[in-house]
């Protein structure tokens, strides 16, 4: 009864101020650029992507419940694995390739590390200074890979003569290369099985080469994805698409639009995660596409 007698002025003021702040947050979110929020998020969380952590927990739980390997442990992508063994092509060694997949040069100038976490592609996105102008992290991306680190079993750094003409799968900023990276969350070296090209949502994603759509779908880590099967057992994967414009079994031509760039799945910004496989082995797509 005593509480009722007191005029709740203090509570009203508190609530009013809080509602004003909430309104401000909504308006600010609407009118101010994403970079501002990203800046605050990074400085609060140290670059840790909590949605990615949640996805990782969900994936681990599924692996535990269903008794299947965790995607990080299983390099195999079942969708891709079913697509056939590699042809017995003649391989041409490329002496220029670092077997340990050193980080790309354009990722070393102060920029790291919004991340995509989860999925066997170990999708750790290197973001260069142009992409994240406000971030000045101190991670040493040029640190040597720890002694004893080995090339993953299903990675093939060999350069093959492709039996078909190849096209660039997307235009934009090359933000992440094929090879080992310092994981922005676990701070250890992990392998990135493709490369990333960032551009605006809705940008064209094109077929790497003539082929057939082997699969389309949605994955927790990949988001909307397309898998194309090309001649001689080559397979390409296009992940984090905003939308997919082809369907399974459809024939596609090199350079033809198959999807739109987006940020679905475990991703912190619109980009294409592109993988190239030859049978069960991941190839370095940078060797076949001019990324400059």
């Amino acid at each position: 009864m005593e509480e009722k007698k007191k005029p709740p002025v203090k509570a009203i003021i508190q609530l009013s101020v809080s509602l004003a702040i909430l309104g401000g947050a909504l308006l600010t979110r609407w009118f101010y650029p994403e970079e501002t929020r990203a800046f605050i998020r990074r400085y609060i969380s140290g670059g840790l992507d909590y949605t990615a952590v949640l996805s990782e927990m969900g994936e681990s739980l599924r692996a535990f419940v269903l008794g299947v390997p965790h995607p990080d442990e299983a390099v195999d992508n079942p969708d891709v694995d079913d697509l056939g063994a590699p042809p017995p092509d003649e391989a041409v060694d490329n002496p220029d390739i670092d077997d340990l997949g050193a980080p790309p040069e354009n990722s070393q100038d102060g920029g790291v590390t919004l991340s995509n976490l989860g999925g066997f592609d170990a999708p750790i996105t290197w973001v260069n200074a142009d992409f994240l102008p406000s971030f000045t992290g101190e991670e040493d991306n040029t640190a040597p890979i720890p002694f004893g680190t080995v090339k993953p079993d299903k990675v093939d750094f060999t350069f093959y003569q492709l039996p078909f003409a190849a096209a660039r799968p997307a235009n934009g900023t090359f933000t992440s290369g094929f090879g080992y990276r310092i994981h922005p969350i676990y701070k250890d070296w992990r392998f990135h099985y493709g490369f990333d090209i960032a551009n605006e949502t809705g940008s064209d994603i094109c077929a790497f080469a003539d082929g057939t759509v082997a699969a389309t779908g949605v994955s927790g880590s990949y988001g909307n994805y397309v898998i194309l099967e090309h001649a001689d057992g080559y397979v390409t994967l296009y992940a984090h698409c905003d939308s997919v414009s082809v369907s399974e079994g459809q024939k596609v031509s090199a350079g033809g639009v198959i999807a739109r760039m987006g940020s679905t799945g475990v991703s912190t910004g619109p980009h294409l995660h592109f993988e190239l496989r030859r049978g069960e082995f991941f190839l370095n797509p940078s060797l076949y596409i001019d990324i400059e």
Binding site: S18, L61, V65
Partner: protein, 193 residues
Amino acid sequence: MTVGKLRIRAGFVLLVAALVYLDEGYFLWIVFGAALLHELGHYIPLKLFGGRVLSLELSGGGLSMEHDARSSLGYGKELFAVLMGPAVSIGFALLFSLRDGMITERVAGMCLAHGFFNLLPMRGLDGGRALEIVLESNGVSSTHTVLRTVTVVCAVALGICCIALAVLYRNLSLPLALLYLLMLQKPEKAKIQ
């Protein structure tokens, strides 16, 4: 602000404001969804046992429920209702994890974290409430002292971990989470968090 049995604190609005502003990847909705499922885990057994929900409070500490379970239901049923919150959270985490998909994975992760976090034996959390019920039902006279001690030990352990991780990874969200925990340590009545 009070609407019927629902009490909304300014801290809740501030929490929503922060989450709205920083939200990414449906994080805000996932948090609320997980919290709602958790509270349903408390609410349904309470209603089934004939208990009364006195009020629902939305505060900076999240969603909490005030009830009369102890006086009307007894220790056993109250303990069941308290533990059903984390149980339902973990159950939904398992359920959501069965389906592959971006949102379901995140909901599963949040439910799992929410369930286990609430099992910490700290005052203000379900684990602390369960510990309190067990001690009281066994006639332990120093229930509140024991609970306070366990809470302090947990808080210190968590605090050390938070500070260490914050220093190592320059991650301010962990000390903020610690502040959140400390905020829950206000003396309170029979509540299910």
